[in-house]
Structure formats: C-alpha cells, structure tokens
Amino acid sequence: MYQRFYTALLIVSSVALFIFTLMAGYREITPDYKSYKSEYRDLFRSKATGEFMKKKAESIDFSVQQVYLGKLNRIDRCINCHLGVENPLMEDAEVPFKMHSGNYLETHPVAEFGCTVCHYGQGRATNAEDAHGTDRETHWDWPILPLKYIDSACAQCHDQEMLAENGADRVLRGEKQFVEKGCRGCHKVNGIGGVLGKALDGIGTQPRAYFPMRYVQGDKTAYTWLKEHFDDPRSIVPESEMRIVLLKDEDADLLTTYILTIRADEMPRDYRRIRTGTQEVPGGEELYKMYCIACHTTGKYSVYDEIFKRTIPAIMNPTFLRVADDNQLRRFIEDGRANTQMTDWKEDAAGLTDDEIGRIVEFLAKSRPAKRGKLFGRSIFDGDTARGRDIYETRCALCHGEDGMGGKNRLGISLVTPVVKEADPEFLLQTVRDGREGTPMIPFGSSGINLSDQDILDVVGYVRTIKPTASPKE
C-alpha cells in the first residue's frame, strides 16, 4: 500500500544520495594542495634543466606529505603547498612555490625543524586558511607570525647577542625599548616588577582569547593586538591606565618583537643554542629607567597625570633631595607610598634586591645639592593648630582644597595621605619653607611668601590634624 508514495520517495532519496556521494567523493579526492602540486610540477618542469632535475620534477608525490617532529610535538604539512622551499630553481618563483629566503634552511633543514616552529600557524591543516590561522573563525591560537616579528621566533633557541651579530637584532633593540620605557615599573616578569599592570610571563604564547579583540583594526591576532596596543593603549583597551610611551611606529614593532619572546614554553634542549655568558649587572641609571621612568619620567619636574588623576612627584628635584636623605629615599622605595600608585619595591613585594634599591638611591642622590637646608630642629609637631588653620585657609586651600584632599583639577597633592601623615617633621617643615622647585609648590619661607618659622610650624601642625572627609579616591 502507498506503493507509489514510497517508491517515489525511495527513488528521489536514492538519486540525491547518489549525487551527493559523488560530490563528497569528488571533494575528497581534489583537496586544494593537489592543485598546487600540479601547478608546481608544471613550473618545475619548465625550469628544470638536466636529466636529474627533470626526473625530480616528474616524481612529485601527490599524496599528502608531512614532517613529523617528535621532540617538538608537531606535525607540519605546510610543504604540500609551499613546495619549493628547498628548491634553488624556485628562487624567483611566486609564493607559495618560492624558495625560502636566506640560507636559513641550510642550518635548519625542513626535515629536522619543520616550519611552524619558527613561523607558527597550524601545521596539521591542509588548506591555506586553516594553516595560516589568521582568521578568528579558524579557531587556531597561534596564527602565522608576520615577518616583521619573525626575529622573536629565533629567540626561542638563540641568545640575543648571537642574533644581533647575525643580523636579527630586532629582539635586542626591542628589549632596549622594553627597558628604557620602564615597562617593568608596572609589569612583572619572572616575579620582578610593578603591580599596576598585568604580569607579562608567557604573554608570547597566550591563546588569542586572552586579548580583547574588539577594537583591533587589523587581523584579530595577538601580534596585531600588541602592536596596536603599543601605538595607543586606550584605543584597544579603553579603561587601560598604560601610558603612551612610544613615539614611532617602528618602536612599537620592535617592542612587539621583544614581547613575543616572553614565552611560557621552552624548546627541547637539543634545539637550544643559548650561550651562557655573565649577566651584566645593571647600574643605578639603568635600573631607574627599568622601573621608575614610566611614571617619574626625568624626575626633574612634577607632572599632573591625567590617567592617575594625581600629581606624580619630581624625585630628582634638588629641593626634594635636600630634605629627603638616603634612608628616607630607601624607605619610600622599599615600602612604596600607601594610597598612591607607588609600588612597594622591596624584595618580598615587587622583587628588587636591597642592592638594587641601593643603586637606585645612589643614582637619585647624584642630583642632591651639597648644601643642606637650615634645620628647624623639631622632632614633634607642636604648632598652634587654631592659628595654623587660619593660615591654611588663606594660603594653602586654593591648591590643596578646603578639605586638604587635593585631587582632581587641583594643583596640590592630597595632604591626608600617609605620605604626609607619616612624614618627619623636618621634611614637611622644610618643604613648606623652601617649596619644591619644578612644581607649583612655591617657597613659603623667607625666600617667597615670607611666612615666619612659627607660621610654618603652626600651619604644618594644623595640616597634621586634618581628617579625610571621605575615603580618598584612587
């Protein structure tokens, strides 16, 4: 019964099945790489001279080829399309048949190294889109590395000096940027560095999802993210507090190259060619650049920072150094400054050794004037706070605010922070008397506004009693 219906259904289904079986079979026997292979064979034939090469051209294997790299835990199938990488006849051919540039493959034969160990990308894939993995929809975390960053891959096995000697100096130049722009002032690497930014350990091998790609203009890859982020951090991460430290496009590329060498994995021993040399001990100036320069810049002038919404003090300012002795500087660096972005740099926090801090202090102290200021000779605050209040309201409130909180759109710093609360009397008194060169803080003593020493004692006494009206904002 329903014989005609079922027979019709059977016939229609069978025909559809037949057609799609043929189509699936055809798709299966004509993968992309086969057409590349036949194109390559034609090219090879036309270029080949001599019996041997001609034979070689004819003997191209059309089945899928792969390089199995046991120790590297990789299988690379790139050579199914990039067929001429080791063929000198293909020197002028177009990609993908072009011979590999330079003499790299002489020292890094494909059979031993494959391709993805340097170029990344998805070695197992057999079509261009998935193999290159640049498109996000390919779901591959380590897409092909743009050639301008390729030096970073060399650093997996080679030390930077060796690379620099051999023309791959971009890593070394990138590291110079990394040090001189003070990246470690905010970012930890190997447990040493500031805490304001994310630690950078393993960033070169982070999966793509680690990087918020929303505002990235180019390819949605970690490489483009890093580069565009260095160009303008807030265009990629709007809430970023990172400062724009780079001026030139070129520098951003160099820094990207260096950052990509900070990897979580390590090459097998057999592949590594790292010479162990004596590590140069960085001097005070270098350490200052590495950890301090990002915020304090030259240290000569205080700057109101739009991102932190506070004034960053001028720590190499002579008038500051005149009142702050080495021990005090060391304490500032070791313990940081509570309620500010200043990190605790001591060994069990941000990781600087006593010795390193000593060298930074030494470097800072170079700018200290030989002559110390006249001492007040006080060890406690004993001014008349009622009088001090009157003086404060006429002289100080304009910049530091009625509430003493300083803050947004005010020139003065907050006076209710521990920085001020816990400072020595001598330090505060002299600062008020002599002002702070290079900052809006003018001298209130005889060289400026001409307050008497007693006035200064009173006003500082009052300042010490101000209580924060609300919790200070970050």
């Binding site: 019964m1 329903y2 014989q3 219906f5 079922y6 027979t7 259904l9 059977l10 289904s13 069978s14 559809a16 099945l17 799609f20 079986t21 189509m23 699936a24 798709r27 299966e28 899928v64 792969q66 299988i75 199938r77 998805q122 197992r124 894939a125 057999t126 079509n127 998935d130 779901h139 591959w140 975390d141 999966p207 793509r208 999802a209 680690y210 918020p212 790609m213 929303r214």
Partner: protein, 511 residues
C-alpha cells in the same frame, strides 16, 4: 550404486558451478519471495526481519500516522554507530592527543571530516527524532493497552540519547568540550545547594561526590577523558542497544503499532492469500497481544510485510541517509581552540540540547540541574499510569476535543512561559530585589519551579474541566514540549556573555 560413477573431482566441479544458487538458497531457505508463503517465510525466518510481523496493518504504512519518526531515529543510530567505529580507528582518548587526532581526522583522513560530520549530526538528529517520535506516540495515545512499560523504556532511551550526545561532545577536548564539562560537573555538584541549606555538606556531600565521580578529580583532566570515553563508546551504547532490543521486542509482542479501532482504509487493500486462517494454532513465540489478524476482524486491513513494509522502510532508510549526508556535506561539526583551563568561554555554554536546562540552572543550580529534569522525566514516565483511559487509541489527539486541548495548552503555555521569562529578563528575581533573601527561598520559588507548578496546575485544571485524564496527559506533554522548545531557544540564541539577554548573537559585545 549410481553415485559411485561420479568421481570426487567431478562432484567438486559440479558444486562449484552451483555455488551461487546453493549459497543463495542456504541464506534464503524458502526460495525467492514469489509466493505469499515464501514472502511470509522470509520475514519470520530472517533474524533481522523477524522483529516485524509477517503481515503489516495498513495503518502502520500510512505516512501521516507515524511519519517514520522512530524508524528515522533508529537509522540515525545505525549511521552514528558505523561512523563512530570509523572515528575510533583514529581518535586517541588522551588529553595530549585527543585534539590533534581530531584535527588529523579533519585534515588528512580520507573522508574523515565527512565521517565526523555524519557522526555528529546523526547523533544530534537522533535527539530530535527521538523527541518527535515520543510526541507522535503520545499524541496518538500509543502508550496504552499494554504499552505502558514500553513508554517507560522509551523515556530511558531518551535519557541515554541525551547522555550519549553529551559525552561525545566532550571527546575532542577543545574549548567547547572543556567548558561544557565544567558546566556539567557543576550541575552534578548542585545538590550542594540543598545540603548547604541544611548545613550537612560536611557530613553528606552528595553533590561533591557526584562531581568527583564524573571528573575523577576536582577539575576536568585526563581522568575525566578516560571516563567519558568509556561511557561514550562502551557503557552507554551497551545500555542503549539492550533497551532498544527490549523496546522493539515489546512493540512486536504488543501486536505491532497502534491503530484506530474503527480503521477504514482509504484505499482498498489487495486481497491476500490465506496465511492466517481462523483455525490455525500458533506456537508460543508467535503469540502477541492485541487484535491479531487471526481474530477474524481486521484481517482484510493487513498486507504482507514483504514487500510492502520493507519498501517503506527502505525508502525511509534512503531518505535518512541522504538527509544526513547532504547536511554533513554542507555543515561542518564545530571544533574550537584547544582546551584552555585558564581561559573561560564567555558565555560558557553546554551543547544546545542542554541550554534549556542551563537557563533553569541560571535560576537555581539544584532545581534546574537535578530536581526539575528528574521531575520532568518522572512526570513523563508516569503519564501512562495516570491516564488509563483505553479508548481512542491510534487516533491523533484522540478526538476534536484533544486537538482543542492541545492547541489551547500550547497558546496559554506559550503566553505564560514567555511572561515569566519577560519578568526575569527585565526585572531579575528575588536576589536582585532583596539581596539578603535566604537561598532556600530562591531554590524553592524561582521561574523554573513556578513554571513546573503551572504545568501541573494547568493539567489538573484540564482534567477537572474535561473529566478526562487523557486530556490532562495531552496538556501536560504539550507544555513539556513547549518549555523544551522555548527554553532551548532562549538559552541558545538569546543568552550572551555572563548569561545576559541579547536579541541576537550579533549584539554580543565583541571580545
């Protein structure tokens, strides 16, 4: 001695000549199915065909009665099993190699990608067709007259289909697998919500135990993959095929598919030869419940299974195979990045068929993950025992009233469920209104429990108004089906990062 004249060699040559016909005859022992007798014999003498009757009722062949749904589900199982065998040749169930071997299957195994697609889509297709088959059985009242327990077996098969699909989803060890596993294990852990409220988690942590049983640890790892693989290729298929055997056996014993009592064929059936006579006796094996053709009536409404039933089945087989192949040709099974425990997917979603549950879990982990699904399965399983009216079997929606109840339930249910969802999405729930509300109150009163309470109340109301438990069953099942559809849709399409509401995927904040 005539035979002595023939030499051994001659006999051998003779036998070789006859090889084709003698082998065929040994396989089909009753000769070509040319007579009614041999057509009948082909059915009951063949192991693979004897699950079906020698004669088939015309109603069974009516395409608009069964739509071939159960059969399609069976064929999908066959395809997914065979493609599964092929995948097992290459797949390696270790966290180091699982992802890579799946990549190899995609890129270099001949037909590997297609095989994987077929395996995936046939498996998920099973879910859809098992549910549709269940709906057909319910709406035609086919869980009655001795078929009550077979309905329960069907529920078991449905659950197994879900779990098999889920375990398969975990094997590629990509981001989808990993985070589905995290969600799955959190659901397994959700009784903790209750033991925490009772304050007995310290002594009796059933949730934690379930989680560790699934994961073989506290986070998904290599132990988990071993377990999931064992479940997927061994234990669950074993159960599935065993219960499937029982399912078919019972259909056969219950006299084949249900049919209306007053069946009138729309086309006059061919007159059949007299295989079944009223005075023939049958062996015990052939005894079946229900009205067999032997009981004079209805005999004229049956046709021989060979060729009529087999033709229909072959057509459905071809249709299913073509459907799976065409779908698999165009749509690739997803494969995301390698599992990264430190990089959560946002939103981390279970596979689509569990997203309705995940929506419920977002209200209360215990209710959504354990209590309500268990209650739903229990409720479905009890339908044949709570509705014991024996008339109108084999008729879609039983009667005009049944159709009316179904449509009304559908409309009212849609309105109520969408209403509840609109409230949750726009205004949040207790926690947003009174941050200090005790968790026990949310566990007991949340959109999920309110909806289930409504389905029960509505079904009782229908029973009360119509004086028919059958009408209540139609209402209850309609609401179940509806909530599966709507909640799955909401979970799949309308929920984005942090399980927040979005009209479409294109509005998700791009990460």
């Amino acid at each position: 001695m005539e035979n002595s004249k023939e030499t051994g060699i001659k006999k051998l040559l003779e036998n070789i000549k006859k090889l084709k016909s003698s082998m065929a005859a040994s396989y089909i022992r009753e000769g070509k199915p040319e007579s009614d007798m041999s057509r009948a014999a082909v059915m009951f003498n063949n192991f693979f065909l004897h699950f079906q009757g020698v004669k088939t009722h015309l109603n069974t062949l009516r395409p608009t009665y069964t739509f071939g749904l159960g059969l399609i589900a069976l064929f999908l199982l066959v395809f997914t099993t065979i493609s599964g065998f092929l995948l097992m040749i290459y797949y390696n169930p270790s966290i180091e190699h699982a992802y890579n071997t799946v990549k190899d299957i995609r890129y270099v195994v001949f037909g590997g990608d297609l095989t994987r697609n077929i395996h995936k889509w046939a498996g998920e297709g099973m879910l859809i067709f098992v549910i549709l088959h269940m709906a057909r059985v319910l709406y035609t009242g086919s869980y009655k007259r001795g078929r009550e327990f077979n309905w329960v077996i069907g529920i078991v098969l449905l659950s197994l289909t879900f779990v098999l699909n889920f375990t398969g989803y975990l094997l590629p060890w990509d981001q989808l697998s990993y985070w589905a596993l995290v969600i799955g294990s959190n659901i397994a852990q959700s009784p903790k919500e209750i033991t925490d409220i009772l304050g007995i988690t310290k002594f009796f942590d059933i949730g934690g135990f379930q989680k560790e049983l699934l994961l073989g640890g506290t986070i998904p790892g290599k132990e988990t993959l071993t377990r999931v693989y064992f479940l997927h290729i061994m234990l669950l298929p074993l159960f599935l095929f065993t219960f499937l055997g029982a399912h078919f056996w019972r259909v056969r014993k219950d006299g084949g598919l249900t049919k209306p009592d007053d069946f009138v064929p729309s086309i006059s059936p061919e007159k059949m030869g007299g295989i079944f006579t009223t005075h023939k006796t049958y062996g015990l094996m052939a005894l079946a419940r229900g009205k067999t053709p032997a009981v004079d009536r209805d005999v004229e409404n049956t046709v021989l299974s060979w060729p009529h039933l087999l033709r229909a089945e072959t057509a459905v087989f071809m249709l299913t195979l073509a459907g799976v192949l065409i779908y698999s040709y165009f749509v690739s099974a997803p494969l995301k990045e390698l599992a990264a425990p430190l990089i959560p997917e946002n939103p981390a979603k279970a596979p689509w068929y569990f997203l309705g549950l995940q929506e419920l879990v977002s209200y209360s982990a215990f209710m959504g993950g354990i209590a309500l699904p268990s209650l739903a399965l229990l409720g479905l399983g009890l339908i044949p025992y709570l509705d014991r009216e024996q008339d109108h079997v084999g008729v879609w929606f039983s009667s005009r009233q049944g159709l009316y109840v179904t449509i009304t339930s559908f409309i009212v249910g849609t309105a109520v469920l969408i209403g509840i969802l609109v409230i949750v999405i726009n205004f949040g729930w207790f926690r947003n209104w009174w941050p200090d509300v005790p968790q026990v109150l949310i566990t007991l009163v949340n959109p999920g429990t309110i909806w289930v309470a409504f389905t029960i109340a509505w079904s009782v109301l229908v029973i009360n108004r119509t004086d028919s438990t059958r009408m209540g069953a139609l209402a209850l099942f309609t609401l179940f089906l509806l909530s599966f559809l709507i909640l799955t849709y909401v979970g799949t399409e309308l929920r984005g990062p942090n399980w927040e509401f979005y009209w479409s995927r294109s509005q998700w904040p791009v990460h």
